[in-house]
Symmetry: D2
């Protein structure tokens, strides 16, 4: 089995040695190891990937006392377990289609189990890929209609029980109770290089400001809109020739690639959230 | 002579033909021509570089009626004229040093005529390059001391009469009366990808927010801090390993390169400001 | 109608004025114009996009004498005409899938009319998108088997008569007679930043050489393998952590994006080939 | 003291634990640790930076048996020791000037002790910075003249005994006996993205081939020209507008930045050479 250990704890001497000794004791062989000290926060973070001939339960049980000794937050996982992925989308289909294709080609280190949308625009597209599609329309503008749709969505997610929820250009703000339920397991793509141009219509904002670079940001969702810990960002140079429509077209490729990258990093257990930041061990 | 024509005017049919005919009439040969239509603003912008055997005054005189006909804002310049450049700096020396070196190596399409600073940190460095250095300290924290230094600076700029003023990490906010005097002829480097992290300590802000990309922005200075039209931006990927000090170190190279690029574009008459934006014909 | 004029001719005074006058005479209004002089080659190249109320045939007829006068190679096209696109693929599906999705989402300025492959790996995927799929296997290793498949492919292309043929990771070398038939209308994606690592297994070559940057190159196909005029290239930084498999995975996104970009540029008539080079007016 | 341990050895279980235990035993605290396994080569590489209250000699002595046990190639260094840097240059001054400025601003984690050149073009510039300059002209085209200059250069390097020799656009091929003497301690900047355009006039070659991306490569020098292990590469997008002169101008910034980056990585002991490749732990 190939196992992944993620941990964070107060920094003090001896952590690396203790973790190294743990892996050696299990007869494991380290394949990848990466770590980070944040002196300002007094934190130590580490990711260790190792081959080992033991059950994940036995490993967890063996590691417990070490973790307790160093006051670690930690997880130990079997890399072969394929996490379940749910995707929420709206009218824009490029990020959704990109994930469908990666799933169909076997490039996703996880499994698409559900696509849900407040529009039925892409029902047929999803159907082509034999993935479950659920249409959750918001009927009218009333607060009640919104709340009803949110309850339906919340219940659907509970039922499908994905390991991660991906907002692939889902254009509705989710209520705090859903966001908190999927804390650090819900990834959004925002079509700007945050913190620039948070909120609505970022390409129009970028054009209005006359920037020479646009970007896309994948981040964990928190109750504060577009404020969650950033997992991945990419940018591309633009010029005065790029009007808002052209910015949008050029940005689409970026959004799809950044979202897929962030999802891969999450599914391979390469991301540790600490404070408002992430450490990405890739 | 190689001449450069920059123009902007309300967009309507016939502008390109009229400008083309003008150059043909002068016996000139177009070397580079680039143009841009902004339908939303109803504007047409053009840069034409052409070889011609005529005086700049004669050309300007010939072009006047065409410009009037199309209600153009325009300029016609001799590319061989080397603009005069003044640089303001503070304690950080990397952007200043970069410009000194480019000047010494003959890479700058202009001439450094003055370095002024509120600190004398780099007097010796500037002296090595035989460029005039003026130390304009602010003596004390009072409003009077600030105003006195600003008057001295304003007078010095009047006296030296540069074609462009470069703020090479000059860390004081200039008064509106100086900014307005050098409108569209004063270039600042800000050490973030604006509009993210305007104001003080952008690298600390970037680290606090946990971004995965940092940047630098060169822009024309306007009375609203860090809000002027952007000339050039560049970015580089960063990670959780980059603490604020490391961000600052890595950002320095970016700042120097972006500022030098923006200055070159300005000195080669490649930038047209329209509204809050620039068209850069490079 | 929105028309696009592409031209190249020996550089001499008066071309810009003549083209400007032509558009003015037709009552057209220039939307985009871009040009390039190559003094070393003595060439002038231009792309003009203009709105006009006339038939494409009338425009061509009117432009003929001007073109003759300046000895131009030229084309005049209606931008609304949607070119027909054929795609050849082999076992790797990411570039093919990317084009299928763009086509399905209406993002392609053309129409997929045919997918052909020497393998049937992606027959089902193509079927999901209601695009014609033809399996053209090579039966055995003999020269006769190869030639038979090539004849079949050549005949299929003749019959479908696409405006452009895209090699989306098609892993067979095409015979010169097919390449020449589709001269400047056949685009290949090579998975390296050419001219580095031409030929087979570029990611393995890149890893062996220890480069810190990999790339992808879209180019017109010529009889000399991987030597045709380059349309688009993109790169991404890599490190010692990237073994050949990881390079391949990371490169896939790049390949799909670069190929789609080159195809868009071609379909929007933004590319002029001159000598071994292209001018890309985007 | 802050110490840096670099090591490589055949990969087998227990290395990480042994190194972790070593640091713990010395009372040291790990500040940064990074490692890499290359399964194809059967190699394990590691860099550990740690704070410790001990002499470098004592540490080396303590680590010896561990290193022997795992058949390691290794080094243990005091990060505070500032390595001595010699620079060779020719007529182009931008890389040289960049290093002089970084040295003057205190940004170089080492000390410039010598600039030598086959031309005296930059004697005055170097003089401005109070760094020793030696002019080593080649008098005539004869093999004897070349050999005489090489002997003089070799003797000068022996005498100055730098820790690293930087070829900052030094345009002469060095003889094997000098290259071998400074094996893995001599860094060259080549003005292309190697392996493309090795040898002479890479910008002219790049223009001739019509590439859309140019680059610069810093690498350790080996007897085979432009074939040594690559430390750093950077690239920038170009277009048909970039003639060879413009490519050269735009490339200069890239060259200076990439060379300075590679030198910093070397001086901070972040590079391990294995086979034809480097692992860069940054």
């Amino acid at each position: 089995m190939r196992a992944v250990l993620l941990l964070q704890c107060p920094d003090r001497p001896g952590i690396v040695a203790a973790v190294g000794a743990f892996v050696a004791t299990t007869g494991g062989n380290v394949v990848e190891a990466d770590q980070h000290s944040d002196p300002a926060a007094g934190l130590f973070l580490q990711r260790v990937e190792f081959d080992v001939d033991a059950s994940i339960d036995a490993l967890r049980s063996d590691f417990g006392p070490i973790a307790e000794n160093f006051a670690m937050e930690w997880s130990l996982r079997d890399l072969a377990a394929r996490p379940r992925v749910a995707v929420l989308a709206s009218r824009q289909g490029h990020c959704l289609a990109d994930l469908l294709v990666r799933n169909a080609l076997g490039e996703l280190p996880g499994e698409l189990v559900l696509i849900a949308s407040n529009h039925d625009t892409h029902a047929a597209l999803v159907g082509r890929f034999d993935v479950a599609f659920r249409h959750l329309p918001v009927t009218g503008d009333s607060a009640e209609a919104r709340a009803a749709q949110e309850r339906e969505l919340g219940a659907l997610l509970e039922q499908m029980n994905p390991d991660v929820v991906v907002l692939a250009r889902y254009m509705r703000v989710l209520p705090a109770w859903i966001v908190e339920r999927w804390n650090q397991r819900m990834i959004n793509i925002h079509h700007s290089f945050l913190p620039s141009f948070a909120g609505a219509r970022p390409y129009a904002q970028a054009h209005e400001r006359g920037v020479k670079v646009i970007g896309a940001t994948a981040h964990y969702v928190t109750p504060e809109l577009d404020e969650g810990p950033i997992i991945a960002q990419q940018v591309l140079p633009v010029s005065h020739r790029d009007d808002p429509n052209r910015l949008e077209r050029r940005g689409r490729d970026l959004e799809a690639v950044v979202l897929a990258e962030a999802l891969r990093l999450h599914l391979e257990h390469r991301v540790i959230v600490y404070g408002r930041r992430t450490a990405v061990f890739d």
